[in-house]
Amino acid sequence: MTAPLVDIADLVIGYDTGMRQVRALDGASLRIDEDETLAIVGESGSGKTTLGMAAGRLLPPEAKVIGGSIHVAGVDVTRADDEALRRLRHDKLGFVFQNPTTALDPTLRIGRQVALAMGGRPPPEAIAELLSRAELNESERILRAFPHELSGGMAQRVVIAMAIARRPHLLIADEPTASLDASIREKVMSTLGRLRAESGASLVILSHDLRMVARHADRVAVMYGGRIVELGSVTRVMQAPAHPYTRALLTAAAGNERPGERLCPIPGTPPILESRCEACAYADRCAFRETRCDTERPEARPFLGREVVCHRAEAVIGAPTQARQEDR
């Protein structure tokens, strides 16, 4: 068996905030294979962005790696020197950020920026060809345009074209469609998916939109309190969630309810950790809580073809779908 493309083991990352240290990751472990699409979902503050950015060591200076390791394409990211890291980012990684208008340099024409991302002195035809792979037509006009002259969807396609310019092995997309209109989100996502399939790279989507994830990813990792609490194939996890948090996220999202039904929000707020959590981080908000959840830290275990971090997974998967109140 070959080594996975990304191997993150028991990663702990904290942010120094002056007075205290806040833990963003509390022992996250994840392996990403070649040629797959993995989605990482969770609320804001769950640590998904920290995990995604850690793969390229693109974290702000106040973030400290406290424990664990990250290997990407054979490079030990936490210990690599600047040169090795530069080569890794340059050749193996591609990033797509949430807001394309801030990801592009406002003072450079698109053609110039794309050429920089491609490296060397690419002929104009090569740049146009790259843009058309990202489904951007009228490349003549786009090459001469400045970022503010493009619509959000076009700008995001330019960012995607730049991310794939060096044929990366791993593409990391942080909320790639959050700043775009609902009507073009789907098109941008399918462009991203098609390019991934063509190049055989792996794609990691960081998102809180479960419905979008369900359509575009092969596997899904649900994050809560700095850990991956459920990891498995999208169909398995979405149809029969084994972690109470996954289940609660699915019932809270508008879109699956029938007319007249009431949504069930998740009570409480996500935890802010200052040290290793010695209990289940979700216990306070959990409907399936028992005494063990407050005293014993759950460890990842295989369960029905997935991995889950919960003492009560058997009860969760067996529970009937809650009947929602009819009120309208």
Partner: protein
């Protein structure tokens, strides 16, 4: 029968750029829309379709270039005359609240402007904070000390404090997390049952809109292309654009 809170008839808004002979662009073209008391009308469409322009017209912030507009059966008139009867909740609560004012004071301000005596104001602020599900101690906090969902609750409390007859929610839940979104959507439904205000819920998220609305209007390029009961948007809307929106759910 009671006249609708807001009635728009053939409203057109034209934006002009440049001096005489510059280009003109119709942001709204012949839009007719009624919102009754106790009813939420959802307004969906892509950016640039005129959703926000329509919201601004309903609030009286923008005068229609052509067409008529009535508020509870009488011509709209001046904004001063409508003080305390109209309200708005915006997308980003962190920008909508003054970061240097304590939340109690932010909620209090509309009452000060409408000249309510101090004792009645205090009582009203405590009452409305409780109704949006916030502890009275939140009145002494600054917006920076609250989470996104709590801030949006403060913004809703401020919008409701004068007991308005009409509220515009402009992308009010788009910036919130899934679980918080559900809390705020439920809150809007519960408060409407209690206060009977008419509401315009502007969003590009059709899933959230159909959940909170009684009726949905779909906008495309400045025109309303479909207007029907929300239940229809769970099954089979007529206009191809509405179907495309639904396909993304």
């Amino acid at each position: 029968m009671e006249p609708p809170v807001i009635a728009l008839e053939n409203v057109t808004v034209t934006y002009r750029s440049g001096f005489l002979g510059g280009t003109a662009f119709d942001a709204l073209r012949g839009v007719s829309l009624n919102v009754s008391a106790g009813e939420t009308v959802g307004l969906v469409g892509e950016s640039g379709s005129g959703k926000t322009t329509l919201g601004r017209v309903c609030l009286g912030l923008l005068h229609p270039t052509a067409g008529r507009m009535h508020f509870a059966g009488t011509p709209f008139g001046g904004l001063r005359q409508r003080r305390g009867q109209l309200s708005v909740v915006l997308q980003h609560p962190e920008w909508a609240l003054n970061p240097r004012l304590r939340c109690g004071r932010s909620v209090d301000e509309p009452l000060i402007l409408t000249g309510v005596p101090a004792a009645a104001r205090r009582k009203r602020v405590a009452e409305i904070l409780e109704q949006v599900g916030l502890d009275p101690s939140f009145a002494a906090r600054l917006p920076g000390q609250l989470s996104g969902g709590q801030r949006q609750r403060v913004a809703i409390a401020r919008a409701l404090v004068t007991r308005p007859r009409f509220i515009v929610f402009d992308e009010a839940v788009s910036a919130l997390d899934v679980s918080v979104q559900a809390q705020v959507l439920n809150l809007i439904r519960d408060l409407q049952e209690r206060h009977d205000f008419g509401a315009l819920f502007i969003s590009h998220d059709i899933a959230a809109t159909r959940y909170v609305s009684h009726r949905i209007a779909v906008m495309l390029k400045g025109e309303i292309v479909e207007d029907g009961p929300a239940g229809k948007f769970y099954a089979s809307p007529e206009h191809p654009y509405s179907r495309a929106l639904l396909a993304a759910v």
